[in-house]
Amino acid sequence: MALTYETIQTYIATSSVSDITFSSIPATYTDLIIKGSARCSVTNSNYGYWVLTLNSTSADYQFTRVIGYVNGIDSNGDTTNPMYVGSNTEFTGWTSNTFSNVELYILDYAGANPKPINFDGIIENNSQSSEKAFQEINNARWNNTAAITSIKIAPGTGSFVTNTRITLYGILKTP
């Protein structure tokens, strides 16, 4: 149980932006949580990933994921650099004014061990005809021992649209 759950920073897009980077992250917490409400400017859901880049490093990522579609489920795993952590950004052409709901939990981000990352996200698209991902759970790892001081989040392509909101929280588990 977290003793503290503090907002470090929130960014709300007032215009479209290609990516959002939280820099100079203090090492004073135990874990980090990122919560996002996002929509991107592209029409093709093949591009709707959240691409995560830690410390500007494009290496050492791996993941396993479970995806729920309209008509079934699927699972897979891979190593990609940088890492994509879920096709959970709303797209142009999907239900108007809907935003995905995403949470990333990064354990022991300031420690000297590889960093486990939990991801879950849901897309709202009010249609039964789409085969695209609606929800996803992703267990990932950044196999790097450096303390995380910056986190860059981007859609696979295009931009996050106005009113996309991303908040970085610090979790402190010990007094």
Partner: protein, 74 residues
Amino acid sequence: MPTKVIVDCTTGISTEVELTAEEIADAEASAQKFAALRAKEEAEAQAKAEAKASALVKLQELGLTEDEAKALIG
């Protein structure tokens, strides 16, 4: 010109910066890579679904009920 945002967690200051030509090229390369990955995933999922449907038919031809066949292949 596309812009990126850098949120400094120490100062709380958010700065919008125009992407360089190199960053735009990187983003385009990344997009192509992820589109290819996604297409591969969808193709694999489709192949899996088709194999499952085929197995279901063949099991029923062997005399199993649909429920029995589904219980076998999950």
